[in-house]
Amino acid sequence: MFTHNRRSWLQNSACGFGSLALGSMLAEQQASAASAANHSLTAKQPMLPARAKRVIFIFMQGGPSHVDSFDHKPQLINSDGKSIDFTGVRFGTFGKVSQRSLMKPLWKFRQYGACGQHVSELFPQIAKHVDDLCFLKGMHTEGVAHGPSTLFMHTGATNLVRPSFGSWLMYGLGTENQSLPGFVQLQPSDTKGGPRNYSNAFLPSVYQGTAIGRASRSIEQMTIDHIRNPQLSPEEAETRFTLMQRLNKAQVNRRPDDDSRLEAVIKSYELAWRMQTDAPAILDLSHETETTQQMYGIGADKTDAFGRQCLMARRLSESGVRFVQVNYADESPNPRWDQHSNMPKHMDHATATDKPVAGLLADLKQRGLLEDTLVWWGAEFGRTPFSQSNNGRDHNPRGFTVFLAGGGVKKGFSYGATDEIGHEAVEGKVHMHDLHATILHALGLDHEQLTYRYAGRDFRLTDIYGRVIKDVFA
C-alpha cells in the first residue's frame, strides 16, 4: 500500500530534487526579485556548445613545487646556490628586497611521451599519461598565505564572501542524477577557509557543496552524513518512516489550500529514503574488480587512502555528479604539500597521489569518460625556486603549474611559461580567474553571462576579470 504511494509520489515528481528546490525558491525570490530564474538542480542546457559535462578537481592542498615536478628549468639547476634579489610579499617583509639563495630541484627530470613533456622522478606514473595532459605553466593567482589563496582558488575572492566554483556550476548546469548531490567534496579540510570553500554564499542553498567524509575522519567514514540509521534495524526504520509519512499525508490533506512547500517536504523525505537505498551502493567501492582497485593503488599501504578517493570520484562522475573535488588535504596549519623546510617530504606526497591519479586518468580513458570529463589537477599556488629554512621552499603565487585532461582540451600540450628560474609567469600567463573562465567555457558556460543578482548587483565567479584561454582547446 505504502510502497505504491511512494512510487506514485516519485513518478509525480518528474524533476526530482528540482521540485524540492521550490521551498527555497519561494523564499529566495525576495532576495533576487529581478532574477526569476528557476533555482533547481535539474540538468540545464549550457549556454554554449559544451566540450565537457563534468569536472573532477584533484586538489593538492598546500602547494606542490612546480620546479620540482613539471616545470623543468635547466637554468635553475645551473644556478644552484646563486643569490637573487627577492621583493617580499608577506607581512613584515612587504616590498622589501632581500637576497635569497636559489635551490635546484631535488629530483631529476626526463622527457616522456610523444610530446616530450619533462616530468621529474616525483610523478613517474602520471608521467606515462603526458600525451593526454594539457599543462598550464604560466599560472598565477592572488594571496600569499594558504587561507586567502585557497579561498581564491575556490571562490575567486581572497576575503569577500563569494560562492564556490562548484556552486556556480550547479547554478549554471544543474546535475544529472537527482538521487545524488551534484557538487561533492571528498574529505575536505576544515582549515584554510573550510566549509566556505564549498559554500553557496548568496546563491540559493540548493547549490551548496556536499561534503562526503572530512579530512579529519578516516577513509572508512567517507560517506554521506546520516545516510544510515545508526540505531534501528531496517524494518524498524521503515515502520517509523511509514508512520511519519502517514501523519504528513493526513496533515497536508486536511488543509483547504494547496501549499506546494508542504508537498515538497513530503517528497524530500521520500528522496532521503531513496538516497539511503541507492547512494551506499554508489559509494561502495567493493563493487569494483580487484584489477581496477589495484590500478588506483587501493590495498597498497601508501596509496590506499587517496586511491579510494580517486576511485570514488570516478564512480560519482559516472553516476552523473557534476563536480567532484578530490582533496589531498589535512587539518594541520601547514597543509600537506607545504614544505617550508624539508622539501624531500614532497616525495611522500607524490608517492601517495601519483599512482591514484594515474589510475584515475587511465580508468576514465578506458571507459570513454575522459571525453566529456574535465580533470583539473592543481593547488592554490606553487613554490619558490629559492630555498627557505635550508631545504624548504616558500609559497609562490606568481608562477606555478596545473594540468588539465579530457573535456576537449589539447592533448600532450603545454601552454605558458615561467621565467628561466621558474619564479614568475612571463608567457601565456593564466590567472586563476582565467582558469575559472576557461573551465566554465569548456562546460559551455560564458563566465561573463553566468551572473546572479544579489543585493542589487550582478555577481559572477570571475568578478570583472577572467579570459578564456582558447588556445588550450583542441
Binding site: S24, F202, L247, E331, R457
Partner: protein, 940 residues
C-alpha cells in the same frame, strides 16, 4: 633665413616622429591593445580607449594613459613595464618594444590619429534620487476609515482600506491554538506548554483580544523575549564567534556582544540608542561604569565581521575591513547596498563613489585592526565585570608569591641551579680563569646553550675525547691556601668521572668530578683546598681522553683564598642552602603556573578613533593603490538633510575626530528617511511572515516597493514619534492587530486573485526556524536548560575555530547561546538554513533538501530527542491502554500545540496498539514522526 631653416628642420623632425609612430607604435597598439581598448571592442576595459590621440591622452578610469614627454607618468608605459597594471595581460612585451614606447612618449607622443569617442561617465542626480520612495521624508499618513467593521487597530484600517479598493476580502481568523503558537514562536521562539494552551483557549473563548493582551504582556516581560529577538538582530549584525576566512580566529569575547543584544531587547532599549552604540559606542558619554561597558560592547558590531586576518597585503586587508563595515551598516540600518559604490557610482541608487569614500574616510580614521602576520583587532577594557574580582584576587596572589620569592632570594647565597644564564667573571671573588684564557688541545666546541656558565660561554668535547686536553694556568698574588673550584653546568648527558689535576706548591692532585651532579651552589664544584706560592704557576689540567662516557664541559676555574669566609659554607649551611634553593625553585614554578592562569581580562571587541583622523581618497575603480582625489568625510548624501535649494547640507565633521559619532547620529536621526522604515519592516517581517517591503535588506531601486507604503510610514512615524523607538511597543501594536490573526489556510479563490498575498488577505505559513526547531525538541523532551542566560559558552577556547568539537561540549542550552563559529557550525544549524554569518541576513532562506530528511530520520540528535521525549512523557503520564486517545491528545498538545485530527489519530492508535502502549520505542516513533511532520515544521 635662419628661422626658415629651423622650421623646416622641425617639420622634418615631426615627420620622423610620425614615421616612428607608424613603424613602431601603431602596429603594437593594434595587435596587443585594441582588442580591449578600442571603440569597437566587445568589452572596453577600464574605460580606456587607445584608438585615437585624444582619447588616449584623456585616459580611462585610472587617469591619463599617456603624458607626452613624461614616460614615468604615463600609465600606458608603466602598465607595459608591469609597474602599475600588467598589460597586455597574457605576457609582457619584449624589452625592445617597451623601449620604443618610452622613446615615443619622451619625444612627445606624436600621434596622427584623430576622432574617437569618449567613454561616457555617469553622473548621479541627487535631487532626482531623493525622489525615490525610500529617500523621501517619512510623513505620518492619515489613518483611513474603511466601511467594514473588520479592523481592530489602525494597522488594520490601512490594510482594510486596500481590501475595499480591490474588492478582496480577508479570510477568517486563525484558531485560538494557531494564534497562540504564532505568538509563542513569534515572541519567544518556544512552543506553548499544555498549561499555557489551556489558559489561553479558555480566555480566548471569553474575549480573544484580552487573551492576546495577557499572553503578550507575559511574553514581552520574559527573558525568553530577548533571546528570540536578539537572535533576529544577530542575523542582521552578521554575528559570529570567529572570523571565518582562511584561519578562522576565535573571538573569545564576542559573547558579550550577543548578551548585550539580548539585554538591549529585554530592556527595551530605544532603537536609536542601539544604533548609536553599534556605530559609535566608544565615543558616547556615559554616566556609569555599566553604561560605559554596554556602549563599548555595542560597537563590537563593527569588528565582528568576516575578516581574513592572515591576508598578507595589509593595505588591502584594511580596505576590505572598511568595505565590510560600510556595506554592513548600509544593509543593516539603511537597506542600502552602499558597497556597490566602491568601484563606480552606484548603478541604480543615488550613491556616488564619492559618498562611499566619504564614509571610507570615517572608517580609515577609525582603528579596527592591529596588523601582524595574522592580524588581530582592537579591544576595549570593561569597567564593571565579575571577572574584575577574580582578576584582583589573582593579582593579590601574584604579589604574595613574588614577595615570598624575593624574601627567599635574599637568603640564598651564590648562584642557584638554572637561574642566572651567565656569570660575569668580575663579579666573582678570588682569581677566576675563564675557558677563553685556557689552552685547548684537540677540537672543542664553543657553546652558550645551557646555563649557567661563567664568562662568555663554555666549551665541550662533543663526545669526542681523543687528544682533547685543557690547561688552565695563572699566578696567584699571595702565597697561602686556596680553595680550587671548577664551574660546569650539569646535565645527565655529562661525563660522570672527569679526572682533573691540580698542580700546587706540594705537587699535583687528581680528583674526579661528576658533571652530572648539580654543584652545591649550582655553578662551582669543589676540587679541594691546596697550598700555592705567590709567583709560581697555579695549574689545573683536564684530560678528556681519560674521562668516562658523556660530554666533558670546560668553563672556568676559581682560586679562592681560604681567608675569604663569606662564601665558606658549612655542611649544615650547605644543606640548608639546598633546601632553600629547592623551595625557591618550586615557588618560581608556582608563580609561572599562576601567571598562565591569569583570568581573562574583561574586554570587549571594538574600535577606536585613529590619532590623526583625515579625509581619504577615492580609489579609482576600487583599486586599493589607485588613489584619486580626496573627498571630505561624510555619509550618503541623498539621505541627508538639504538646504532650501535642495542641495545636501555640508556635514561639517570635526577635523580632530573620525566623524563616526556624527555618522551614528545621522543614522539614528528621526529625519533619516531609511532607518525607521527599514527597522519597522524587519519587525513586521518576523511577526507577519513577509515584510511590507519584501526585500528587507534592500530599499533601493533593485529592491521591491512596499505593498502598503502608508502603513509602512505609519509604523515608522508612530515608532519614532509616539513610542520613542520602543521595540516592545511596536511589537505589541502589530501582534494585537487583526492582520496578525488571519488564518494561513486560504480559500483558493483569494490566493488565485493575489498569489503573493500582497494585499494581506490571509496569513503567511512559515517554516519553523532552526533555533525554534532545536529548542522545541529540547523543551518537549524535558531537557532544555533555561538557566544558561549568557556568558562564555565556548567549551574550550582555542586560537582557531576549525578544531572545535561541538559534540564534546554539547549542552542543552538555548540555540542562541550555542557557540557560533563561521567555519565550524553546529550541524543542525547548517542543515536547516541558519543565517550565514558572513552576510547581513534580514530574511533567511528556507530550503527543502533531502539532507534535512536524512537528518530528521537518522541523526543521533533526532533519535535521542525522540527517545528522551518518550521517556519524559511516560514518566509524567500514567500509562493506560483504555485512555490511549487521551495520551495521544497530550502528545499532540506538547508538540503541535493542538489536539489530533481524526485522520491523525487513527494511524497512531493502530500503531501504538500493535507496538505496545507502554513501549518507549513506540512512543519514540510517535515523537519522531511528529517532529518530522509538516505541522511541526511549519507555523500555521
Amino acid at each position: 633665413m635662419l628661422s626658415v631653416i629651423l622650421l623646416s628642420r622641425a617639420e622634418a623632425d615631426d615627420a620622423a616622429k610620425l614615421e616612428f609612430f607608424e613603424a613602431r607604435i601603431r602596429p603594437v597598439l593594434v595587435e596587443h591593445c585594441y582588442k580591449c581598448h578600442a571603440v569597437d571592442a566587445k568589452n572596453v576595459r577600464g574605460g580606456l580607449l587607445l584608438d585615437s590621440k585624444a582619447v588616449a591622452l584623456d585616459g580611462g578610469e585610472s587617469g591619463a594613459a599617456i603624458v607626452p614627454g613624461v614616460p614615468d607618468e604615463s600609465l600606458l608605459l608603466l602598465a607595459m613595464k608591469h609597474e602599475s597594471y600588467e598589460m597586455p595581460p597574457d605576457r609582457k612585451l619584449p624589452d625592445s618594444i617597451i623601449a620604443d614606447f618610452e622613446q615615443w612618449i619622451r619625444d612627445g607622443a606624436a600621434d596622427p590619429r584623430v576622432g574617437g569617442k569618449m567613454v561616457k561617465r555617469s553622473a548621479i542626480d541627487l535631487k532626482a534620487g531623493r525622489n525615490f520612495w525610500s529617500f523621501r521624508s517619512i510623513r505620518r499618513p492619515d489613518v483611513p476609515a474603511p466601511k467594514s467593521g473588520w479592523a481592530k487597530t489602525d494597522i488594520d484600517r490601512f490594510v482594510a482600506a486596500r481590501y475595499e479598493t480591490t474588492g478582496l476580502s480577508p479570510v477568517d481568523d486563525a484558531t485560538a491554538e494557531q494564534v497562540l503558537r504564532r505568538i509563542q514562536y513569534g515572541l519567544v521562539g518556544l512552543p506553548p506548554t499544555t498549561d499555557q494552551i489551556a489558559t489561553f483557549v479558555a480566555a480566548w473563548s471569553v474575549d480573544p483580544d484580552q487573551a492576546i493582551d495577557a499572553i503578550v504582556d507575559e511574553l514581552l516581560a520574559s527573558h525568553r523575549f530577548g533571546e528570540r529577538w536578539g537572535r533576529h538582530w544577530l542575523d542582521v549584525a552578521r554575528f559570529a564567534e570567529s572570523s571565518g576566512g582562511g584561519r578562522s580566529l576565535m573571538f573569545p569575547d564576542a559573547w558579550r556582544f550577543r548578551d548585550y543584544v539580548i539585554k538591549s531587547f529585554n530592556d527595551d532599549k530605544p532603537f536609536d540608542q542601539l544604533v548609536r552604540e553599534h556605530i559609535a559606542g566608544d565615543l558616547l558619554p556615559y554616566k556609569s561604569d555599566s553604561e560605559h561597558d554596554d556602549q563599548v560592547t555595542g560597537v563590537g558590531y563593527l569588528t565582528l565581521g568576516p575578516t581574513n586576518y592572515e591576508q598578507q597585503d595589509k593595505e588591502l586587508l584594511r580596505m576590505e575591513v572598511i568595505d565590510e563595515q560600510i556595506d554592513t551598516i548600509g544593509r543593516t540600518f539603511l537597506g542600502l547596498t552602499i558597497g556597490c559604490a566602491r568601484c563606480h557610482d552606484h548603478k541604480f541608487d543615488p550613491i556616488p563613489t564619492a559618498d562611499y569614500y566619504a564614509m571610507a574616510g570615517v572608517f580609515r580614521s577609525t582603528e579596527t585592526l592591529l596588523p601582524g602576520n595574522v592580524s588581530t583587532y582592537v579591544t576595549t577594557s570593561l569597567k564593571t565585570n565579575p571577572e574584575h574580582k577574580r582578576l584582583a584576587d589573582w593579582k593579590t596572589q601574584e604579589k604574595s608569591l613574588q614577595a615570598k620569592i624575593a624574601e627567599l632570594k635574599k637568603q640564598v647565597k651564590g648562584q642557584r641551579p638554572g637561574v642566572a644564564p651567565h656569570i660575569d667573571t668580575a663579579s666573582l671573588p678570588g682569581i677566576v680563569v675563564d675557558d677563553s684564557q685556557a689552552t685547548f688541545e684537540g677540537e672543542w666546541v664553543r657553546s652558550t646553550s645551557l646555563a649557567p656558565y661563567v664568562g662568555k660561554g663554555y666549551r665541550h668535547d662533543n663526545y669526542l675525547k681523543t687528544g682533547r686536553r685543557v690547561r688552565f694556568q695563572t699566578t696567584l698574588p699571595e702565597s697561602g691556601m686556596y680553595r680550587v673550584r671548577m664551574s660546569h653546568n650539569y646535565q645527565t648527558s655529562r661525563c660522570s668521572r672527569l679526572p682533573v689535576t691540580v698542580t700546587h706548591a706540594e705537587g699535583s692532585t687528581t680528583v674526579e668530578v661528576d658533571q652530572r651532579k648539580t654543584p652545591l651552589d649550582g655553578v662551582f664544584a669543589e676540587l679541594g683546598t691546596f697550598p700555592f706560592t705567590a709567583g709560581s704557576p697555579a695549574v689545573v689540567t683536564i684530560d678528556a681522553e681519560k674521562s668516562g662516557k658523556g660530554v666533558v664541559i670546560v668553563d672556568a676555574i676559581q682560586f679562592l683564598p681560604s681567608t675569604v669566609d663569606d662564601v665558606v659554607v658549612s655542611p649544615d649551611e650547605q644543606h640548608q642552602q639546598l633546601e632553600l634553593s629547592k623551595r625557591l625553585t618550586s615557588l618560581e614554578a608556582k608563580l609561572n603556573k599562576h601567571k598562565k592562569a591569569r583570568p581573562v581580562t574583561p574586554k570587549a571587541m571594538g574600535v577606536r578613533d585613529q590619532k590623526e583622523p583625515a579625509d581619504w581618497h577615492i580609489h579609482v575603480r576600487g583599486g586599493i593603490r589607485n588613489l584619486g582625489p580626496l573627498v571630505p568625510r561624510g555619509f550618503v548624501s541623498a539621505a541627508s538633510p538639504v538646504d532650501q535649494n535642495g542641495d545636501t547640507l555640508p556635514f561639517n565633521l570635526p577635523q580632530d575626530q573620525s566623524g563616526r559619532l556624527e555618522m551614528a547620529n545621522w543614522v539614528a536621526s528621526p529625519v533619516n528617511p531609511l532607518t525607521a522604515r527599514v527597522f519597522v519592516n524587519r519587525v513586521w517581517l518576523h511577526l507577519i511572515g513577509e515584510g511590507l517591503v519584501r526585500t528587507p535588506d534592500n530599499f533601493g531601486k533593485m529592491g521591491r516597493a512596499p505593498t502598503h507604503p502608508e502603513l509602512l510610514d505609519y509604523l515608522a512615524a508612530t515608532f519614532v514619534e509616539d513610542d520613542a523607538w520602543s521595540v516592545k511597543t511596536l511589537i505589541r501594536r502589530i501582534v494585537v492587530s487583526r492582520v496578525f490573526r488571519l488564518s494561513s489556510s486560504a480559500a483558493s479563490g483569494t490566493s488565485d486573485a493575489d498569489p503573493d498575498n500582497e494585499l494581506l488577505t490571509r496569513g503567511f505559513r512559515r517554516r519553523l526556524d532552526v533555533e525554534s526547531l532545536r529548542d522545541s525538541l529540547l523543551q518537549i523532551s524535558g531537557q532544555l536548560d533555561l538557566n544558561q542566560v549568557g556568558g562564555l559558552t565556548i567549551g574550550k577556547v582555542t586560537q582557531y575555530d576549525n578544531a572545535y568539537d561541538h559534540d564534546q561540549f554539547s549542552r542543552n542550552i538555548r540555540s542562541v547561546y550555542v557557540p557560533f563559529f563561521r567555519n565550524c557550525m553546529l550541524e543542525i544549524f547548517e542543515v536547516f538554513d541558519i543565517a550565514n554569518p558572513n552576510l547581513v541576513t534580514g530574511q533567511r532562506t528556507s530550503s527543502t533538501l533531502p539532507s534535512q530528511g536524512l537528518f530528521l530520520l537518522n541523526s543521533p540528535f533526532m533519535l535521542e530527542q525522540s527517545k528522551v521525549a518518550a521517556e519524559h512523557f511516560l514518566e509524567t503520564q500514567s500509562v493506560d491502554a483504555a485512555a490511549l486517545d487521551a495520551m495521544i491528545d497530550e502528545v499532540f498538545r506538547r508538540t503541535l500545540g493542538r489536539p489530533p485530527t481524526v485522520g491523525e489519530l487513527k494511524p497512531l492508535q493502530s500503531f501504538l496498539v500493535e507496538e505496545g502502549v507502554d513501549s518507549t520505542d513506540a512512543w519514540a516513533s510517535v515523537f519522531q514522526a511528529l517532529f518530522a511532520s509538516v505541522d511541526f515544521r511549519y507555523i500555521d
